[in-house]
Structures are given as structure tokens and as C-alpha cells.
């Protein structure tokens, strides 16, 4: 009994704040019609789910490594664009596999190159110069060959073959992929071999730079493990093989994917997006984040730069204008028996909407997204609470040095968590794309919402991320709704209509208020 009252006293501010928020929510509900009550709440949950998916990874990375990964939103966006490519233009995605796999094959050999260079004992002068020569060589080879590699894409310039048009056609089921292109100017053998060679040199160059860095830095001795990294060699061989095989089976695979039901494509898109962005994340952690752990502020600046590069990268490939992504066919039915009246109807007709209380709920936006959000919430929670990795993460959030002293390779855990965190965001991007649409600034908008959610919930707290995301999502959707119907205020003649700019403003205001009451956020730990 005593314990309970003690707990209450300890968390008094939190309880009162949550109570006030609940009351505000109930009051806001009272002003709506029954159908809008359900609809707006669902939309709030849906928005919250997407924010949560971004916020969760972000907060894990921040908690464990003290890295405020401002590229998180951009990776979310790139994930969405990768997913879009797979769903709308699978042939392009298949085309892109070969060069990417060949590039990975070279980079995967980095650990091997590390060992080899360490064994070679290159004199200091040469060790300083040759990576630069390698870099120039890499830029020359890859700069010449990669643009020549035949990837059938879209043309941002003309309407007929713009991403917007393809997306529309894919949604209608009338998509016709353009004829595949062929190598021009170079023979395929030279093209493929050259790219492979270029990527090997790139791996060696990076290892050379890293080697010289270690060489020139005299404060701490570092011993490189002298054994051959077998995993790296296998990964390299396998990816190279995959690249070459896909080159020869390009057309049948493209045709197969083009005929595939887009619900399957959607699943593939989520997986591919997750894996590729997780890979980029791992690479980013090893190459860019790791050298800057000692100075978190520079890490923050670096991620900002990466974010800017990512946005420009998407702009050059997919173009600036926003476009849509078709919903998976499970949630796109509009024909007979739709909008659905019952659960059986949904399953039978794959309706895009359900009618409840005279309102229409979109099965994808307002139901599926929430289910996915809950699924991720629970999965990550189980990962954190029930697995050894989760245990290490929770311990590392507090004191990663001590975890290392328990003979756990914390750096590998860092890389893994970074990869998982941004991979999760990319997955969120694919899931959010059909309801939000794609644009180059979607990542930034969402990242800001996620940051606000985390500031509200407590920066490194997992439940905090969930609650914060829910609060932000709800608040935004309710303001949007009241923007349509207006809030009747006693001292005003007309109903007060919150305008769209008030949507973000309201969340920021809430954040400021909550931070004034609880500077650590709702669930943040007091230091």
C-alpha cells in the first residue's frame, strides 16, 4: 500500500499531465459527431503509428550512441522512394540490382583489405599518397562506367514518362514498362568487370585511408586482428555472383515482377527497403559516425550533411515533384460490395473503405497502418525486453563502456542498432507512402514530428516514444478536424477555425508547455 502511494507521489507530475491530456481529448471528442469521433481518433492513431516508427529507431540510436541522427527522416524518405520503385517500376529495380551488388561486393572486402594492408607494411609516404591515387582511379572508372550501365528509368522532364504518370498508371493497373535498354558504347563484359574492379579499388582505398589515419594518430595503439575475415570474403563473392546472375536473368525477373500481384510487391518493397537502408545505415555508422563518437556535436552536423546529400540525391533521380504510390490491392477494392459493411465484406471484396456510423474509414490509412504500427511497437518491445540483444541495448543506453568491459563487442552492437533503426524508418517510409504520398520533404516533416514526439515523451524512453507519437498524431488530426468544423467559443460570434498552419504550431506549443513542466519529457529519466 505504502509503495503505491510512494509511486504516486514520485510520478505526480506525470499522472496529472496525462490526466489533463485525457480530459482535453475527451472534451475534444464531445464536440464531434459520432462518426467523426471514430474517424478522427483512428486517423490520430494512424498518424501516431507512422511518427512512432520513425521516432522509435531515432530514440534507440540516440539513447545508445548519443548520436542525434538527423538523417533519419531522409532515410525514411529514401526508403519510401525505393519502395515506390519496386511497386511501380519493378523493372527499374531489377536493373539496378546488378551494379549495386557489384559495388557492395567491393566494399564488403574492406575488412580483408584492412588486414592485407596491415600486413604489407607500406612506408609512410606511400601510405599517405596511394589512397588518393586509388580515389582518383575509382572516380574515373566508376564515373565512366556507372552512367553507361543500362537502367531503364523514368524521365522527369516529360509528362508521358514521368514518375507521376507511372504511379497513376500503376494505380489503375494499366502500367506498361518501357523497353529495357542495353549497354551502349562498352561491351557488357567490360562494363560488369570494370564496375567490379572499380568497387574493389574503392574498398582498398577506404581501407588505405583508415590505415593512414591509424598510422598518423599516435595517441593510442590499435591492433588489427590478423586473421582473414572469412565472412567478408563470402559476402563479397556471393554479392558479386548475385549481381552477375541478375544481369543475365534480368528480363524474366522483370516480367515476373510486373505480373505479380501488387500486394506481394508491397511486401517485397518493405523488405528490400528495410534491407537496403539498413545496409546504408551500417555503412554510414562504420565510415562516418564512428570516427566522431568522441564529439557528438560533430556527429550531429555530419548527419545534417548526409541528410542534405540524401535529399539532393533523391531530387536528381526521382525529380522534385510529389507523386503518389498505389495502395496494395488488398486495400484498393472499390467495386461490388464496397464500402464494406462487415468484416467478411472486407476480406471478400478487399474494399478500400468500410462504412461505420455513416462515415467511411479507409482500410489502408486508418486500419492497416495502425495494425502495422502496433505490430512494430510490440516486436521492438519484445526485442528490447526478452532478447540478449535488447538487454545489451538497454544496458548500453546507460553505460556502453561497462558493457564493453563485460566482453561484449559494443561497436558491433552500435552498427547493428544503427542499421536496424534506420531500416525501421525506411520500412515506415514504404508503409506511409500510400497514405501520405511521396515528396522530397516528407522525411523532414516527419522527422520534426518525431523529434517533437520524443521531446514530449522523453528522448531515450521507448514508451515515451510511443506515447509522444500518439499525442502528436492525435493533436494534429483533431486540429485538422476542428479546422473544418470550427470550435464554438463562448466569447466569439463565429466558430473559431484553426487554420492549417496551426497544426504544427499546436504540437510545438504542447511540446514547449510539457517541457516547461517536465524538462525531461513525460517518461524521460532525470539525470
Amino acid at each position: 500500500m505504502n509503495k503505491i502511494s510512494q509511486w504516486f507521489r514520485k510520478n505526480r507530475t506525470l499522472i496529472i499531465t496525462l490526466l489533463v491530456l485525457t480530459i482535453v481529448y475527451l472534451l475534444a471528442l464531445r464536440g464531434l459527431e459520432p462518426k467523426d469521433q471514430v474517424l478522427t481518433t483512428l486517423r490520430g492513431f494512424s498518424m501516431g503509428a507512422i511518427i512512432f516508427i520513425v521516432a522509435a529507431g531515432f530514440s534507440l540510436i540516440f539513447g545508445l550512441m548519443d548520436v542525434l541522427n538527423l538523417a533519419h527522416g531522409t532515410l525514411f524518405m529514401i526508403g519510401a522512394y525505393i519502395g515506390w520503385t519496386i511497386i511501380v517500376r519493378p523493372d527499374t529495380a531489377v536493373d539496378a540490382i546488378t551494379p549495386i551488388a557489384l559495388l557492395i561486393a567491393g566494399f564488403a572486402l574492406l575488412p580483408l583489405m584492412d588486414v592485407l594492408i596491415e600486413r604489407l607494411n607500406i612506408p609512410e609516404k606511400a601510405a599517405r599518397i596511394w589512397p588518393w591515387v586509388g580515389l582518383i582511379l575509382v572516380i574515373a572508372i566508376l564515373g565512366y562506367l556507372l552512367p553507361k550501365y543500362p537502367v531503364t528509368t523514368w524521365d522527369v522532364g516529360s509528362y508521358e514518362s514521368s514518375p507521376i504518370n507511372y504511379a497513376f498508371a500503376a494505380g489503375q493497373g494499366t502500367l506498361v514498362a518501357p523497353e529495357p535498354e542495353l549497354f551502349q558504347g562498352v561491351s557488357p563484359v567490360v562494363g560488369l568487370g570494370g564496375i567490379l574492379l572499380g568497387s574493389f579499388i574503392a574498398g582498398a582505398t577506404l581501407a588505405g585511408f583508415a590505415h593512414y589515419r591509424r598510422y598518423s594518430r599516435k595517441e593510442a595503439k590499435v591492433i588489427i586482428d590478423q586473421g582473414l575475415p572469412h565472412t567478408a570474403i563470402w559476402i563479397s563473392i556471393i554479392t558479386a555472383l548475385i549481381g552477375i546472375i541478375f544481369y543475365f536473368f534480368n528480363d524474366p525477373l522483370s516480367d515476373f515482377l510486373l505480373d505479380l500481384n501488387n500486394a506481394w510487391l508491397f511486401l517485397i518493397a518493405i523488405l528490400v527497403s528495410f534491407v537496403s537502408i539498413a545496409g546504408i545505415g551500417a555503412l554510414m555508422e562504420v565510415l562516418l559516425v564512428r570516427p566522431l563518437y568522441a564529439t557528438p556535436i560533430y556527429n550531429l552536423l555530419m548527419t545534417l550533411g548526409v541528410s542534405a546529400i540524401g535529399i539532393e540525391f533523391v531530387r536528381t533521380i526521382w525529380g522534385n515533384p510529389a507523386f503518389t504510390m498505389p495502395r496494395p490491392s488488398l486495400f484498393a477494392g472499390t467495386g461490388e460490395g464496397c464500402p464494406a459493411e462487415s468484416l467478411a465484406d472486407i476480406l471478400a471484396n478487399k474494399c478500400s473503405t468500410i462504412s461505420i456510423l455513416g462515415g467511411r474509414i479507409r482500410t489502408y490509412n486508418d486500419v492497416f497502418v495502425i495494425i502495422v504500427g502496433l505490430f512494430i511497437l510490440i516486436t521492438v518491445w519484445i526485442l528490447l525486453q526478452r532478447t540478449r540483444l535488447g538487454m545489451i541495448i538497454r544496458a548500453g543506453v546507460q553505460d556502453s563502456e561497462m558493457v564493453e568491459a563485460l566482453s561484449i563487442n559494443v561497436r558491433r552492437v552500435f552498427t547493428l542498432v544503427f542499421a536496424l533503426g534506420v531500416g525501421l524508418a525506411a520500412m515506415g517510409g514504404v508503409i506511409a507512402a500510400p497514405s501520405m504520398g511521396l515528396s522530397t520533404n516528407m522525411g523532414q516533416v516527419l522527422l520534426i514530428n518525431a523529434l517533437i514526439a520524443l521531446a514530449i515523451g522523453g528522448l531515450t524512453s521507448y514508451p515515451g516514444a510511443a506515447v509522444g507519437a500518439l499525442i502528436v498524431g492525435m493533436l494534429q488530426q483533431f486540429i485538422v478536424k476542428y479546422g473544418q468544423i470550427g470550435i464554438p467559443l463562448p466569447f466569439m460570434e463565429e466558430a473559431f477555425k484553426p487554420t492549417p498552419p496551426l497544426v504544427p504550431a499546436s504540437t510545438v506549443l504542447l511540446m514547449v508547455i510539457i517541457l516547461l513542466i517536465m524538462p525531461q519529457g513525460l517518461f524521460g529519466r532525470k539525470e
Partner: protein, 369 residues
């Protein structure tokens, strides 16, 4: 006799010392002042044409320099809160944006003249700093950065909203601002050039003095170790707020100049990317060095000008890569690295001296290795 002459000599020394200490600044001022004429000379344009603001190479480069001056003031104002006081703000573009939009709206929609508008810009700058500072007593570090990001983002969205299209021009930007005739950037460009230049130099001198003043020193102490500064009895909140207000007002004034100079005020100048630009400029030049901010701004503008010209669309990616490279390999920026090197050069000289006087230490080190 000597009693009378002694102070005289000392005084002369002080003047001489001041000039000597700031010779870099003086040379820079001189160079900037004659720059339009040099360009005209190189281009073969007679000075009379230059003085009557006829089009030509000189006029074109004057415009580029004016942009650099404005950016430099913006960058130095960011350096004050980021580099000197040690607060990370992600909302700095809002300071600049408020200045620009207040000026634009007052000129265009209310027809105010220059002086009252400048007054309002200063007032708005102070209010702006107070808004940022409202949570400062309780929230620090990263969380404060997030708060500034949120506030600035709201401003960014508000100026782009459809509801305010008559005033702020939505996402296209604020068009049709007519500057006062005597400051027309087209017909009176040379005058504008000198105005912007003098403004930048005044701001630089003021900032230099501020940083060396007792208040500025507490700001630096706050950056180094806030808890220690608090323990020494300083209420760091007021110092941080002072730095914020100064920074906000100068950034706002830079924004006002921007609004007068550019035919269209785009909303981009209030967005996160413009804050990043400030960060980038400060970083290129060297964090916390003030003069670094100016050099960084010039480098940044010239770099993006050059890249835009020769690479076109992909220039932004290159700028991003340069930025990441600087963070990774040149974290102290141009001025910071220069200062460090000069320390090292000094050390090198001393080492050289030691080699002649006695080389025992050196040998010992070699043996150990």
C-alpha cells in the same frame, strides 16, 4: 620633461598597437572598399560608368559581394550563439526570416518608410529571442535545439500558408517589395555595396568587443562548462538570453537588408536548410572564431556560385559532400586550423631551437619507439 612626454609615448603606442593588432581588419576593409574599382579596371570599364551604376562585370560582382556581406552577418550572428555561447539552435533561419519578412511586409502592405521599419525589425528580433529563450531556464542542450527547430518550423509553415498569401506570398515568396529610391539595389548598387560592407564591419567590430567584454567572457565560460559558470555565481540564463537577443537582432537586420536587396523574398530563407547553411558557413570558417564566420560565408557563397555555374543541378550534392568532409577532416574550419597551425609552427620553431641546444629528449622518444 620626461613626466610630460611619457604618457604621450604610451598613447602613441596604444594607437600603434591597435592599428597593428587589427591590421588584418584594416587591410580587409581597404581591399573591400576598392574591390568594385579593381574589377572595373580589370574589365576595362571607365570609373564614371561604374559610379553611375551602369551594368557591367563590376556591378555583377558587387551583387555577389553584397550577398556575401549579408550572409556573413547572418553567419556571425549564428557563431555568437553556437560558437561563443555554446547553444545549438536549429531555428536560426527564423531570426533572419523574421527580419526579411517584417521589412518586406511593412514596405509592401503598409508602406512604411525605412527607419520605422528598421525599428520594428529590431523589436521583432528582441521578441523572437525571447520566444526562443522562454524555455531556456529549464531546457538545455539537445532538447533546446529541438524546441528551436519546432518553433522555427512553425514560422516556416506560417509564412507559406495560404491564409497569409496577401502578406507573405505563400510558397512563391514575397514579391513586389519596393525599396526606398535612395537604396534601390539596381540603380544605386554601389551605394548599397558600401552600406552592406560598412554594416558587416560594424557588426564584426561590435561582436569582437562583445566577446571580449565581461559579458562575452561569461558566455564563453558557459560554452566551456555551464555548471562551473553557475557555481562561480553567474546566472547563465541572462547571459544566454543576451547573446540570443544580440544574435537575433543582427540576424534580423541582415534579413532586412536581404529583403531590400532581393526582388523576391523566398520562404526558403526561414527553413531548416538555411539554418544548415549558417552552420556550414560557421563550420567552414571555424567555430567560435567570429572572423571565421565571415570567411566561411564568403567561401560558402563563392563555392556554391562556382559549383552552380560549372556543375548546375548536382552542385548541392557536392556542397553536401564538402560539408561532410569538413566535419570529418577539418573540424576546426579554416580560421581554427590556421590558428592551430600557427601554434604548431611556433612549437616547430621551438623544437628546432631545442635541437641545437640539447637533443636528449628527442633521442629518448626514438629509443622508446
Amino acid at each position: 620633461m620626461s613626466e610630460f612626454t611619457a604618457p604621450e609615448v604610451a598613447k602613441e603606442n596604444i594607437y600603434w598597437a591597435t592599428i597593428k593588432n587589427s591590421r588584418g581588419l584594416l587591410i580587409t576593409i581597404l581591399l573591400l572598399a576598392i574591390l568594385p574599382f579593381i574589377i572595373a579596371l580589370v574589365d576595362g570599364q571607365p570609373f564614371s560608368e561604374l559610379l553611375s551604376n551602369d551594368p557591367g562585370q563590376s556591378k555583377f560582382y558587387q551583387a555577389l559581394m553584397i550577398e556575401i556581406f549579408i550572409l556573413a552577418v547572418y553567419a556571425i550572428s549564428y557563431d555568437l550563439i553556437f560558437g561563443i555561447t555554446g547553444m545549438i539552435s536549429f531555428g536560426h533561419a527564423m531570426f533572419f526570416g523574421v527580419g526579411a519578412y517584417v521589412t518586406g511586409i511593412m514596405f509592401k502592405s503598409f508602406g512604411w518608410s525605412l527607419l520605422p521599419t528598421i525599428g520594428l525589425v529590431i523589436l521583432a528580433g528582441i521578441v523572437n529571442a525571447l520566444i526562443f529563450g522562454i524555455v531556456l531556464p529549464r531546457v538545455k542542450g539537445i532538447t533546446w535545439a529541438l524546441v528551436t527547430l519546432g518553433i522555427a518550423e512553425v514560422f516556416f509553415i506560417v509564412i507559406q500558408s495560404r491564409e497569409l498569401v496577401d502578406f507573405a506570398g505563400a510558397e512563391i515568396g514575397l514579391q513586389g517589395v519596393t525599396p526606398p529610391e535612395y537604396l534601390n539595389p539596381v540603380t544605386e548598387r554601389l551605394r548599397f555595396y558600401y552600406l552592406a560592407m560598412i554594416f558587416m564591419i560594424l557588426v564584426y567590430i561590435f561582436y569582437k568587443r562583445f566577446v571580449n567584454s565581461p559579458t562575452g567572457r561569461v558566455c564563453i565560460a558557459n560554452r566551456e562548462n555551464e555548471n562551473r559558470a553557475i557555481m562561480l555565481g553567474y546566472n547563465t540564463f541572462w547571459y544566454k538570453l543576451t547573446a540570443l537577443i544580440i544574435s537575433s537582432v543582427t540576424a534580423g537586420l541582415a534579413g532586412a537588408l536581404h529583403a531590400i536587396f532581393h526582388p523576391i523574398i523566398r520562404p526558403d530563407i526561414a527553413g531548416l536548410s538555411f539554418t544548415i547553411a549558417a552552420l556550414l558557413m560557421v563550420l567552414i570558417g571555424g567555430v567560435g572564431t567570429l572572423s571565421g564566420a565571415l570567411i566561411g560565408a564568403a567561401t560558402f557563397r563563392l563555392l556554391s556560385f562556382g559549383l552552380d555555374r560549372y556543375l548546375g543541378g548536382s552542385s548541392q550534392i557536392i556542397i553536401g559532400i564538402v560539408y561532410v568532409g569538413i566535419v570529418l577532416y577539418l573540424p576546426f574550419g579554416i580560421v581554427g586550423t590556421w590558428n592551430q597551425r600557427s601554434v604548431r609552427r611556433k612549437e616547430g620553431r621551438e623544437q628546432l631551437l631545442r635541437m641545437f641546444t640539447g637533443s636528449k629528449e628527442k633521442k629518448q622518444d626514438e629509443n622508446e619507439e
